[in-house]
């Protein structure tokens, strides 16, 4: 199977701080990868570069054939809207838009809005009766499910989840992980940052970072 993500000797420096220091690995299409490591090990930086939110200092990050570092501003916007689905630890929903509008916002930036499809996406994460609620009226778990619906709505090649259950209680963590398992079984490629070993074990492979370097990369089964 072809690699969807290819990372070669990736470096990222913030002033004197080296967040990533020569990281290389690849991810096959349909794989679920858990990126683990202590705080400050470069996990989020890696996810940000793969998602086109940040640029590497050197090295190469290829996603579905696109060299992220070489994309210009509009190319990056198109890349993010078409190929990437983000799930953040802090949910990051627009507070003055309803759950439905938050999902449709991603559609708007991708192409055109489709309310029926957005409702279906919210239905899939079990929020049919919460479509018209504002984020402030939803629990943390519900907000994260809205974020999952938003990440899926444009059928991205790659789902980048940065500590998707970090702010959730056990019950909501279970719901979100169940959703991720479903997405994986449907063939979605997922890169998930997590601290929790128990969650990391759900993934096909674990990649561990330490001080910006690759500390462990499980081989494929």
């Amino acid at each position: 199977m072809a690699a969807l993500v290819q990372i070669e000797n990736l470096r990222k420096e913030f002033g004197n701080v080296r967040a990533l220091d020569g990281v290389s690995f690849d991810v096959l299409a349909g794989e679920w990868i858990a990126i683990m490591g202590p705080s400050g090990s470069g996990k989020t930086t890696l996810i940000n570069i793969l998602g086109g939110l940040d640029t590497p200092t050197s090295g190469r990050a290829m996603v579905d054939g696109a060299d992220v570092a070489r994309l210009d501003e509009s190319g990056l916007a198109r890349f993010r809207s078409e190929k990437i689905g983000f799930i953040f630890q802090q949910f990051h929903l627009v507070p003055y838009l309803t759950a439905l509008e938050n999902v449709m916002l991603a559609q708007y930036f991708h192409s055109t809005t489709d309310e029926t499809e957005a409702r279906e996406a919210l239905g899939r994460v079990g929020l049919t009766d919460r479509e018209e609620h504002l984020p402030g009226q939803l629990s943390g778990g519900e907000q994260q499910r809205v974020a999952v619906a938003r990440a899926l709505i444009n059928h991205p090649k790659l789902i980048l989840a940065d500590e998707p259950t970090g702010n959730l209680d056990e019950a909501n963590e279970g719901i979100v992980l169940k959703l991720l398992r479903e997405l994986h079984s449907e063939g979605h490629t997922i890169l998930m940052v997590t601290h929790a070993a128990s969650i990391g074990q759900l993934a096909d492979r674990r990649i561990e970072l330490a001080h910006g370097r690759l500390a462990l990369a499980n081989t494929r089964a």
Binding site: T44, E73, S74, A77, R78, F79, I84, Q90, V94, A106
Partner: protein
Amino acid sequence: MALVAVISGAAVISALLNLEFDVERKLTQEFRLLGANLVISPGSSTQPGGTASQSPATLSSPTLMSAAAVLPQVERLRTRDVVASAPYLYIVARAHDTPVVVAGTWLDETRPLEPTWKFQGNAIVSRDDATQCFVGRDVARQFGLAPGGQVELHYLGRSAQLRVAGIVDAGGPEDSQVFVNLPVAQTLAGLEGQIQVMQLSVSGTAAGISGYADELANSLSGYDVRPIRQVSEAEGNLLNRTRLLILSMILLILVLTALCVLATMAALAMERRADVGLMKALGGTISRIVGLFLAEVGALGAAGGLIGCIAGETLAQWMGHRVFGTSISPRWEVFPLTIALMIAVAMAGALPLRRLGKVKPAVILRGE
């Protein structure tokens, strides 16, 4: 805050625009209170100053016009803008052995022609009434006349006995005159069918009045037809100054509204940085993101403009009553104009949104 600024701005601008559109008509109405503004006379050389209150003591043929030549033409060209008109023949007759200026005119037209005059007594409703007259306030005081009293006028051996229907208080030289119907003056003077001047009170713009004067002049060749210059010039000057004042105020309010929106939008741009960072992360181009904010600002301008217009109509009515003593006619074109201005001003005030282009999504999402 921005909405309040736009509503307030729109209300005042809408009121001022209503006033601006109506000011010409209102000023024209105000100036019509000054009386006649168009005079037809035999010739410019014989009319000193062209003012209506001149009363020649002696008459000679160059100062006279044939009523049969003038009146039918005036009647033929009469439009709805002609508020009132009347011919005049002045003679200096004697009453109680004292010279007194007698003005022969159409007494049924005196009130509409001279709306500022105060009348005490009864109206004279027929221009053919040869038995009644009005006397000026000074004449009444001099001869001890009151409504219902009698006055006898003598001129070149002819006389007329008239009942005083009312006393005129014009606040000018007319207070020293006796006003009789035209046939009475013509008979006294032995000038049947003759008049000296024709005065008209015409409403409309200065240009409209001038155009009407030209039309009359074309039909009355050999006669002088001219607007009373002082009134027309004063009207034009006041109109221009009022318009300049109104337009300056509109401009000032537009600038102030834009500045207020600008300040609010600058704060909003800072407040929405996190949302913009997220939108960029979701694949939003800066043009689409700013487009969303501009749509919001445009809606704010349109809503504020609409609400402000409605408030402005009320304000315009109040201003009309305060300034002109009458209501201002609502002009529906003010609505789209004000709303368009408010949208434009809101958009101009949204310039700080350009800063959003510099937002780095990774930095924002890190919570910095």
